[in-house]
């Protein structure tokens, strides 16, 4: 209960985002499903911000090491995700015929 009332603002944000997400995907042609999934994959790489924060607040060697790995993995997700998506979409661009 306390958890909910303390974070009311965030909870409103969550609910709104759920609807925005649904609205955005609503009418996407199936050709774009794969790039879309890949793009969404890159966007959830935003988790990297959490790993940066957690590593930046760590004091012990153990946690720094785990944080270090977390930042690497998060970056892989972000960079890899966006680059792969771009490569997929590159193929859709208009070609000179």
């Amino acid at each position: 209960m306390e958890l909910i009332s303390q974070h009311m603002e965030l909870i409103y944000l969550i609910i709104l985002m759920v609807f925005v997400g649904i609205e955005i995907i609503g009418h996407v042609p199936s050709v774009l499903h794969t790039p879309l999934m890949s793009g969404a994959n890159a966007i959830h790489g935003v988790v990297i911000i959490g790993s940066i924060i957690v590593m930046g607040e760590s004091d012990s060697f153990l946690y720094q090491t785990i944080g270090f790995v977390a930042v690497i993995l998060g970056t892989l997700n972000v960079v890899g995700g966006f680059v792969v998506t771009d490569r997929m979409l590159e193929m859709f661009k208009k070609k000179k015929s």
Partner: protein
């Protein structure tokens, strides 16, 4: 002041995520959308690095190491994404998704030390969802790249449900913060969640893997959002929940394209049950297979007015996308109308065929989706099926006992001739026989797609 600038940066980044995802939904703006989201992400990352302040008002420590990790990750991610073959794209997406899940898992692992001060439920949610997404994605990656074989554990569904209950029990135990069992329970929970992810994906057939990847994708989104909740960080929350909800809907849309429910995909054991019914129902198909040579096929095609090519996973495996484009141009130069019929689930991912054919410069408007091409088959002279099977199986319309019954298919049998290129008579991914191959109009052109098509092209040229 610093704090406020960072808040605004996060706001801008959030808007780029929403806008980027919106743009990704349209072919003409998709690329811009991706770049927009990437820009927002870069902004958010650098903003965090330089402007973030802890609760005590200090800046982040360990910055050199963070930069080192960022550098390593960027280099590895960039090289991996650039080097991967177009056919291996689905497993790459799965792998990157797993990395994100692992990242969320590790964050929860570190935050465990603060479990008394922060909300234990959120830390646990991040841990459980992140781990499931991580191990599940790795299994999906292994399956798609052929490193892990399909495997059916007996009573697998019951074990999974039991495991889930045990996870809930331990999660409850940890959230009670009973000091004596806290640490053990927490790590048990980590191990169980990882195991659950493996068991979750293991029995699902390879053809359903895109659906699973999409689902795991939305899981990772939710795991990222947990981090947002933990740090009161709105950009993480927006990005995570956006992907969580969009990913879930995308999963459902994909299931609909196959005319199956999500539940059916998850517990249906597609491969397993299909093989069983295939051995009983499938053996009922009687008839002869007509085999034809490349030169026969060449003659058929050269004197056709309209040819429709149906690409499938076999085309991707054989890397035959360039040859098929060559064939298309050759036929066009003879004044023959050529189109590609794209089934929504052809290949291993929706849009897989489009990406592949676009790679070999096939013009976008030649790729026709199923609903539009189906009425055209009656006026088509020759249909060339390249490495596709289940998407042209008439059993989906005629045989209620078939596991793919109800899935919309391409009505290739209404064309004059059907030429099917396959490596062998082996069944498709669903593991069922295809009576199309025994149809009077159908001829089989056996061989690897690339070799067979190359031969076909030279035969047509030889006809001059």
């Amino acid at each position: 002041m610093q704090k406020h600038i960072l808040e605004i940066i996060y706001l801008i980044a959030s808007v780029t995520f929403i806008g980027g995802l919106k743009f990704l939904g349209h072919p003409s703006t998709a690329r811009r959308g991706n770049l927009l989201a990437a820009f927002g992400m870069t902004l958010a990352i650098f903003g965090t690095l330089f402007l973030y302040q802890t609760d005590q008002g200090t800046s982040l420590k360990n910055l050199p190491f963070i930069f080192l990790a960022l550098g390593i990750g960027t280099l590895l991610g960039f090289v991996a994404a650039k080097k991967v073959q177009m056919t291996a794209m689905p497993e790459m997406v799965s792998l990157f998704n797993g990395m994100g899940g692992a990242c969320a898992m590790l964050i929860s692992l570190i935050e465990f030390q603060h479990i008394h001060e922060k909300s234990p439920l959120i830390i646990l949610a991040g841990l459980i969802i992140g781990s499931i997404s991580f191990s599940g994605s790795i299994v999906a990656w292994g399956k798609l790249s052929g490193k892990i074989k399909d495997f059916n554990l007996k009573f697998q569904q019951y074990i999974s449900i039991l495991l889930l209950l045990v996870i809930v029990y331990f999660a409850y135990d940890v959230s009670c913060l009973d000091a004596s069992t806290l640490t053990t329970s927490f790590y048990t929970l980590l191990a169980l969640s990882l195991l659950y992810g493996v068991l979750f994906v293991f029995p699902i057939g390879g053809a359903d893997m895109p659906v699973v990847i999409s689902l795991l994708n939305s899981f990772t989104g939710v795991a990222a959002a947990c981090g947002g909740f933990l740090y009161d960080n709105k950009v993480m929350l927006v990005g995570g929940i956006l992907v969580g909800s969009a990913g879930t809907l995308l999963t459902i849309v994909m299931c609909n394209a196959m005319n199956r429910s999500l539940l059916n995909v998850l517990i249906g054991n597609f491969g397993g049950s299909a093989a069983a019914s295939g051995s009983t129902g499938g053996s009922g198909i009687q008839g002869n297979i007509k085999e034809l040579t490349a030169s026969d096929a060449a003659i058929l095609m050269k004197y056709a007015k309209k040819v429709v090519i149906v690409p499938g996973y076999g085309l991707a495996v054989a890397q035959a996308q360039h040859v098929v484009h060559e064939l298309e141009m050759l036929l066009e130069s003879e004044g023959i109308e050529v189109k590609y019929a794209i089934h929504p689930v052809a290949g291993r991912m929706p849009g897989h065929m489009n990406v592949l054919l676009a790679e070999s410069n096939v013009s976008y408007d030649k790729l026709v989706e199923m609903e539009e091409i189906n009425p055209e088959f009656t006026t088509t002279d020759v249909v060339l099926v390249v490495g596709a099977n289940d998407v042209v199986n008439p059993a989906a319309k005629t045989d209620p006992s078939s596991p793919i019954y109800g899935m919309p298919i391409l009505d290739v049998e209404s064309a004059q001739h059907v030429i099917v290129n396959k490596r062998s008579m082996k069944a498709g991914y669903a593991g069922i026989e295809n009576e199309l191959f025994y149809h009077a109009k159908t001829s089989m052109l056996f061989g690897d797609a690339k070799k067979a098509l190359t031969q076909l092209v030279s035969e047509i040229k030889a006809l001059g």
